[in-house]
């Protein structure tokens, strides 16, 4: 990397983190429609099933079976349903707190940024005092978009989510349903 690119790198890292925090806050605050507006029309969103495998096996993640495998339309269906007064899995709603961390940009062009990050969701329901924990790594692609999210200090287009692959640490999902976006 050229020395004169370093400030750009720092700015880009900061911008991506702000996007991820913003998107996480929208979900925690149950502003599902606003979250959905931040995904691109061609979004690919996948949560492959994980199995306990021997160390020598190539992967623990299925390439045919998923907990979620979504496009723009099915995410629309889900977010609309989750916001319904008749979605008994989320009414009364669960309380979630998303902790996004370890954000690492793995590739970037003018248009797109690929990154990985870790996410822990603390989810509480009813009067339960021990919350459910969901732990995962995410691979994502963010894309420049006029209608994307941009912090005030950014001139020019903001960011939208174009691709997300969620790699769960769970083989058996510890929550009674996945009625939230990861």
């Amino acid at each position: 990397m050229q020395e004169d690119q370093i400030p750009n790198r720092v700015t880009l890292q900061h911008e991506c983190e702000q996007f991820l925090y913003h998107a996480a806050a929208l979900l925690d605050d149950r502003r599902l429609n606003e979250w959905h507006e931040l995904v691109t029309d061609d979004i690919s969103y996948r949560v492959p099933i994980r199995t306990t495998r021997e160390r020598a096996s190539d992967t623990e993640f299925s390439d045919t079976s998923y907990h979620m495998k979504e496009d723009w339309d099915t995410l629309k269906v889900r977010t609309e349903r989750m916001a319904s007064d008749f979605a008994w899995s989320e009414d009364p709603p669960s309380r979630t707190r998303r902790q996004v961390s370890n954000v690492r940009i793995t590739d970037s062009s003018d248009d797109e940024i690929e990154l990985t990050n870790n996410l822990v969701i603390v989810q509480s329901r009813k009067s339960e005092t021990e919350p459910d924990l969901l732990s995962m790594k995410r691979h994502e692609t963010l894309r420049r978009d006029e209608d994307g999210y941009a912090p005030e200090w950014i001139n020019g287009p903001g960011l939208k989510l174009a691709e997300r692959e969620v790699l769960l640490d769970h083989t058996v999902i510890p929550t009674s349903s996945l009625s939230i976006i990861l």
């Binding site: 949560v47 099933i49 199995t51 306990t52 495998r53 021997e54 096996s57 299925s62 390439d63 045919t64 079976s65 998923y66 907990h67 979620m68 495998k69 979504e70 496009d71 339309d73 099915t74 629309k76 269906v77 889900r78 609309e80 349903r81 319904s84 008749f86 979605a87 008994w88 899995s89 989320e90 009414d91 329901r125 009813k126 339960e128 005092t129 021990e130 459910d132 083989t171 058996v172 999902i173 510890p174 929550t175 009674s176 349903s177 996945l178 009625s179």
Partner: protein, 457 residues
């Protein structure tokens, strides 16, 4: 999920007294078409279920397509007991107890894989995937007395397959599987013989604070809950056309079917329905394996669901994950695994016609997953509702007032559900089957019979 706080209360009765009281209460309650609420969260009842139900009846292990090659294996449970579902090198399917004959360690520690041998990590005893003990370190010096033939891995004494569905029974004596399935085979033939089905990928697994009997009861034929319980999914436009009433149909509840039950939507039409499969997929079916009566029921079938006692259920539906996409015929097979009183683990497999195109199978998967799975737009709401039944069931108050659940729908003078004597298949068919509880009563009658069966002890 905080399980421990929700365990049932233990009153001052001993376990056998408690079991007797509850099963006696159940016998009386069933006369009134009711079921004691307490059985949905009671430690003594649960322990008896493990030995009397899961230790006595045939239970589902897996589908042959999950272990297609010699050496393929998957870990499975019977009740809570650990087994290995494997195809040995001779191609024979085996259900081996996952516990070393030396000191009990698990010899198989991955959920799935392919191996010719299971080597125990503790002292290194090695078993062929037939279960035979073939290696004991320092055998000559320490185990020269040991007869390897007597120390094969234990295996389920009865393993059999029906149209690709593999079941096992761990009781010493078992009736033949086909006899156990009884009239249910007539229905299973429509889904697994007419169609060569294959499992796609790995099952969804998740834990739920509900007793395994709650979803089983539901899948025996609780069609009454759909408009209310699934309103959120129907409102966003992803309900199946038969369930929403867009497509006119008749719902038959099939009870008295040797302990198993089905709910079959029939659409009167010249068009082939086949659960929403399109023509090019229907063409791949084995059209000559069914009787003309079975074939006609299959042809007219919309949503179909059912359960095989004790804890295997399925739903077969022409579903959608998006109101703007074409429905496809998706098949979700589910097992409600007991994991404690008032607690279960759900296993959900999605199956597609094996000879359909890759693209179509992908759509079958997507629609199945987004309808019935841990993230399913329908399933999530069922589970959201069930959460809490266990707390009420385990309460002091439920015991005090002898609280019951109600299965009296359709027993009044004006009841809409009526027996259709012309139904071609086994069992008693109720037209307007959404308005009777006969299917669910069958589950609880079978449960009760199995629980009190002293001969089986």
């Amino acid at each position: 999920m905080s399980h421990d706080s929700e365990r049932s209360i233990s009153s001052d009765e001993s376990d056998p007294q408690q079991i007797r009281r509850l099963l006696d209460h159940m016998a009386e309650a069933l006369e009134q078409n009711e079921v004691p609420l307490e059985i949905l969260n009671n430690e003594a009842i649960y322990q008896r279920e493990l030995s009397q139900i899961f230790g006595q009846t045939w239970t589902y292990i897996g589908h042959v397509s999950e272990i297609p090659e010699p050496g393929d294996y998957r870990q499975r449970t019977i009740g809570e007991d650990p087994f290995i579902f494997t195809r040995d090198e001779n191609g024979e399917i085996r259900v081996l107890f996952n516990s070393c004959r030396h000191r009990g360690a698990n010899v198989c520690r991955a959920e799935k894989g392919n191996t010719t041998h299971f080597r125990c990590p503790y002292h290194g005893w090695t078993y062929q995937n037939t279960g035979d003990l073939v290696g004991v370190p320092q055998k000559g010096d320490g185990f020269d007395h040991l007869d390897a033939d007597d120390h094969s891995l234990h295996e389920a004494p009865h393993v059999d397959e029906y149209n690709g569905l593999v079941f096992a029974c761990i009781a010493p004596d078992a009736q033949p599987l086909e006899e156990y399935l009884g009239g249910a085979t007539w229905y299973l033939d429509m889904y697994f013989d007419l169609i060569d089905m294959e499992v796609i990928g790995d099952p969804h697994r998740w834990v739920v604070d509900a007793d395994w009997k709650t979803p089983t009861e539901n899948f025996y034929g609780d069609n009454y809950h759909v408009p209310m319980g699934h309103k959120s999914a129907i409102d966003v436009g992803i309900g199946s056309e038969t369930a929403t009433g867009e497509q006119e149909s008749e719902l038959y509840g099939i009870a008295d079917c040797d302990g198993h039950a089905f709910s079959v939507y029939q659409i009167e039409s010249e068009e082939p329905m086949f659960w929403g499969h399109p023509e090019e997929v229907v063409e791949t079916f084995n059209h000559d394996v069914l009787s003309p009566e079975q074939y006609e029921v299959a042809r007219k079938s919309g949503v179909t669901l059912g359960s095989i006692f004790p804890n295997l259920s399925f739903i077969f539906l022409g579903g959608r994950d998006d109101p703007n996409k074409d429905p496809v015929g998706t098949f979700c097979l589910r097992q409600w695994q007991p994991r404690g009183p008032g607690e279960m683990e759900v296993w959900n497999w999605i199956l597609a016609p094996a000879d359909a195109s890759t693209e179509y199978k992908e759509r079958v998967y997507e629609v199945g997953m987004s309808t019935f799975s841990v993230s399913g737009n329908f399933e999530a709401d069922d589970i959201g509702i069930w959460d809490g039944i266990d707390e009420a069931a385990g309460s002091v108050f439920a015991e005090r007032v002898e609280a019951t659940t109600q299965f009296t729908m359709g027993t009044g003078e004006e009841a809409a559900a009526t027996v259709d004597d012309d139904w071609a298949g086994p069992g008693t068919a109720y037209a307007n089957g959404g308005l009777t509880d006969e299917n669910q009563l069958d589950f609880y009658r079978t449960w009760h019979e199995t629980m009190v069966n002293e001969g089986a002890e």
